[in-house]
């Protein structure tokens, strides 16, 4: 085909024109692309950089180590153990079912556990970045298997955690308490939730000092910034700001003494407190039966928990501070001092005890039906004569008695860092009007005078009362010795403002209780020189009809009480013992108190020489049979914990 040269030239020109136009258009479009690129990469760069960082950077809270708890000698009472666990985060988990299936093969995750994880992950409460624990307390083998299979398990991270361990098991469960992983309910109860508690399985103090000093012990969370890929696998750690461990706290307890207390009370439903009368330091606070707090830390089984709840000896409460008992005759020192201070009686003045007294048309009995004859103050304490105190109560009145009770520390919880502390009850006229809607009657005073009726005290209060009697100063108990090595102040114990002669008379009476052959607790005396003990028995009725304690069911028997201090000449320790439904104070409580006192004084199992010759055989057997914890048990049993 021929074309005219004009045509071809015209055509070539046209193509060139259009090519130029096309080129221009294309370059213009490239310009648009360039501008767009510039806009995104220069103007909006910061914004996109932020988004890119949001993609890849994740901030994790690092649980701090919980503060450790020590005894007064630096023996560790609550420590932190490493545990291995695996967690999963919703936002990073691609397909939960596949992951769980793989874990079933790898570490034998049971279908039940899988279902639990599935439910938790899908729960609306579980935020996308909140880790859900899949399995806790893994063996090292299982843990490393999961870690090695990391790439196949998106969203799953193996974590090394710390968990609480109580090397002395039962011994401190009622004082140190224990921790548990924080629960949803617990979080809901908090007004302000420290983000630290959002850390999965973060442990929070549930009982004892662990809960009361939670704020000191928990520490501050650290943060960890990690870089993650699209599957949620951590590629590297960017920066780590370690948390601040909780404060290490030294308590006033002496681990050895506490262990002895628990061992000595074992088999009874009992409690005891040993206090240093000079400082108020609580050396031991025992409560039996006890239980292993480590079980709770690990998650106690329903059956075990039920058994604890249904045990009639009530292992759960801390009886030494939560148990309020009628103090019985251990209260008589209060009545005596109230009357003496009121000037309504002198130490030498005698009251005639005929075994009972008629007041307000009611007959009030002395425990000794035959009566004690003429008794003065010292005799009344030695024999624990009730009629003497009925007389004093009528002379002094309840207000004076209640004031003296409060002066000696009753009706108070001293602000000790223990939960659920009972203040007991130091009743007076106003109390009865307000709480009972009835007027105080003289019979109430008589009952109160011998520690019955409305009066309730805790073993801790009895120990405080005894310390104050022994020293004449306002000793208050102390539980925390040091925080992070800083000694906590011992409260200035000023004088009680009680006439020293009166106090001395009461102490003499208490001395006679143990050291006079006619004293109610003569059998429980200490014969070692310079260690002599002064004390008072108490047998508080839990019912009105007095019958022989041996023939009634356990829960209807009298409580056996004993308070004591020693050495008599230079008091160091005060002891209070309450044996629930133990029968008589002299037989059930006093021997225990003596053993505890001697252990505290000697710092070890007491020598037989401290005991009266005739008793040494049985005491030797008893002391040897005590289930004491060997010194090195801590180390030897840890591995199978």
């Amino acid at each position: 085909m021929r074309r005219s040269p004009a045509d071809t030239a015209e055509s070539a020109r046209k193509i060139s024109r259009r090519a130029l136009f096309l080129g221009g258009t294309q370059l213009a479009f490239m310009g648009v692309l360039g501008l767009r690129m510039r806009f995104m990469q220069v103007e909006q760069a910061d914004e996109f950089r932020l988004l890119a960082d949001e993609n890849r950077l994740k901030v994790r809270l690092l649980p701090p180590a919980r503060g450790l708890l020590y005894d007064r000698n630096g023996v560790i009472l609550a420590e932190n153990e490493q545990t291995f666990r695996i967690v999963i985060r919703k936002e990073d988990a691609a397909d939960l079912d596949i992951v769980l299936e793989k874990l079933e093969k790898l570490i034998g995750l049971t279908p039940d556990e899988q279902e639990r994880v599935r439910k938790t992950v899908k729960s609306r409460d579980t935020g996308p970045s909140v880790p859900v624990t899949i399995a806790d307390r893994l063996t090292w083998e299982a843990f490393s298997t999961v870690a090695a299979n990391g790439p196949a398990l998106p969203g799953v991270s193996p974590e090394v955690g710390l968990t609480r361990f109580y090397p002395y098991r039962d011994d401190f469960v009622h004082t140190v308490g224990y921790v548990r992983p924080v629960t949803r309910d617990k979080l809901d109860q908090m007004e302000v939730v420290d983000p630290i508690y959002r850390i999965p399985d973060f442990q929070i103090g549930l009982t004892g000092v662990e809960t009361k000093l939670e704020d000191l012990l928990k520490g501050r969370a650290g943060t960890l910034r990690v870089e993650q890929n699209v599957h949620g696998r951590t590629i590297r750690e960017l920066d780590r700001q370690e948390g601040v461990a909780g404060s290490n706290i030294q308590l006033t307890f002496d681990q050895k003494v506490q262990n002895f207390v628990q061992a000595r009370l074992d088999g009874e439903s009992a409690s005891a407190v040993i206090m240093d009368v000079r400082t108020g330091d609580v050396i031991a606070a025992g409560s039996t039966p006890a239980f292993d707090p480590n079980k709770f830390v690990r998650g106690i089984s329903g059956a075990d928990y039920k058994a604890l709840l249904e045990n009639i000896y009530r292992p759960l409460p801390s009886k030494s501070v939560q148990g309020a008992y009628p103090p019985g005759s251990t209260f008589k020192m209060v009545t005596a001092l109230a009357a003496l201070e009121a000037g309504v009686v002198t130490p030498d003045e005698t009251v005639r005890c005929t075994g009972h007294v008629e007041v307000g048309g009611r007959r009030f009995h002395c425990w000794k039906r035959a009566g004690h004859g003429n008794v003065n103050l010292i005799g009344s304490l030695r024999h624990s004569c009730d009629v003497y105190y009925y007389e004093l109560a009528q002379r002094a009145g309840i207000e004076k008695i209640a004031d003296m009770g409060r002066k000696l520390g009753l009706g108070d919880d001293y602000g000790l860092p223990l939960p659920g502390m009972s203040t007991g009850l130091m009743p007076d006229k106003q109390w009865k009007r307000e709480k009972r809607g009835a007027d105080w009657v003289i019979g109430d005073s008589l009952n109160a005078a011998i520690g019955q009726g409305f009066v309730l005290t805790t073993p801790m209060q009895l120990a405080v009362m005894t310390s104050r009697l022994a020293t004449g100063r306002a000793i208050t108990p102390r539980l925390v010795k040091t925080i992070d090595g800083v000694e906590q102040p011992i409260q200035d114990a000023g004088p009680l403002d009680i006439n020293e002669n009166m106090l001395r008379a009461v102490r003499t009476g208490m001395y006679e209780v143990l050291n006079s052959s006619r004293g109610t607790a003569y059998r429980s005396r200490i014969v070692e020189d310079g260690m002599q003990m002064a004390g008072k028995t108490g047998t508080s009725q839990t019912r009105n009809v007095v019958v022989n304690n041996n023939n009634v069911p356990w829960e209807e028997r009298d409580h056996a009480l004993f308070v004591a201090f020693a050495p008599y000449d230079d008091p160091k320790y005060a002891v209070s013992v309450v044996v629930e439904h133990g029968g008589g104070g002299s037989t059930a409580a006093a021997p225990i108190a003596r053993d505890l006192m001697l252990f505290a004084l000697h710092g070890a199992v007491p020598p037989l020489a401290s005991y009266p010759q005739s008793q040494r055989g049985t005491i030797k057997n008893r002391l040897e049979a005590l289930p004491l914890r060997p010194d090195d048990e801590d180390a030897s049993t840890r591995s199978n914990a």
Binding site: S11, I15, L51, N229
Partner: protein, 382 residues
Amino acid sequence: MSYLEQNLKTVPTGLSKILYVNWALVILLTAVASVGFIMLYSNAGGSFSPWAEPQMKRFGVGLALMLMIAMVPIWFWRNVAGIGYLLSLILLLVVEFFGDVGMGAQRWIDLGFMRLQPSELMKVTLVMLLAGYYDWLDIKKVSRPLWVAIPVLLILVPTALVLKQPDLGTSLLLVFGGAIIMFAAGVSWWYFGAVAAMGAALVTSVFSSRGTPWQLLKDYQYRRIDTFLDPSSDPLGAGYHITQSKIALGSGGWTGRGFMQGTQSRLNFLPEKHTDFIFTTLAEEFGFLGGFSLLMLYAGVIVFCLISAMNNKDRFGALVTIGIAATFFLFFAVNMSMVMGLAPVVGVPLPMVSYGGSAMLVLMAAFGIVQSAHVHRPRSKS
């Protein structure tokens, strides 16, 4: 002026032809391909396998292919354009046919050493056929409806087949590539104006009909459009790719995060980072400077092709060069628009850079024809 009318004696012959190859274009293409190697190396976490090494080998093969094609006189390519087009059409049908009998949505034919996508081949052979058509067609008839209808049909038949695969990106490229040749060949503005107006009307009616009983698209199709217009409305679904792509690109800043330091690509937030979204990796790691440099290289390729075309008195040579340059342009323009969120994600690779065998070889072959046109262009009788 058709080729036969030129003084052939001015056209270089024999081995000396190699001197007349447009070496600047070769260097530009090599530079573009090298950007690809670097990014493939980076995307593999600093490794030549699995992507960079095969890509380099393919480029070597492509380079040889280009030079071989360049040595063959351009009139040969004009003469086989029709056969090439028919062959491509048949291959498209074969793929379609085998696809129907159970080979899945297979778009390619296994040649043993490489997988050939007939649609890739069609992009070039369509350009060649249309260039040949206008070379043959009387210039005066170019804008007559009948002679406009013929190339339109030639474009629409393969487009329909490709669309059925379905491959929206390639079919768009075929339509636009063909249209550009028709435009370059001198088809009247009115046709393009009319088509543009109709397109605008269609878009308007599609949008304005939404929510009315006579709406033109299904609801899910509208939602896809929504996602394109605002990817953040569906950040975890269809908008995910484009959102992540924009984040990667934008976070590059002026100079980028550094070689192999792009967090979006290295941590796999970027999808398809070695194929369709490779530009994002470049922009993330080398920033605006890196991305703009590649854009400049592309612009250089286009400019060199267009200069060559404008200096070419041979209609076929000029048109085929313009057409191939336009196809090349459409490739990267669509791809870049896509990763920058200016166009919907249609699955068009970045030419010469994205990992992929047949696209690279077909493009190199196409540039071989551009080179052939350049080498064998008629020179003035001086």
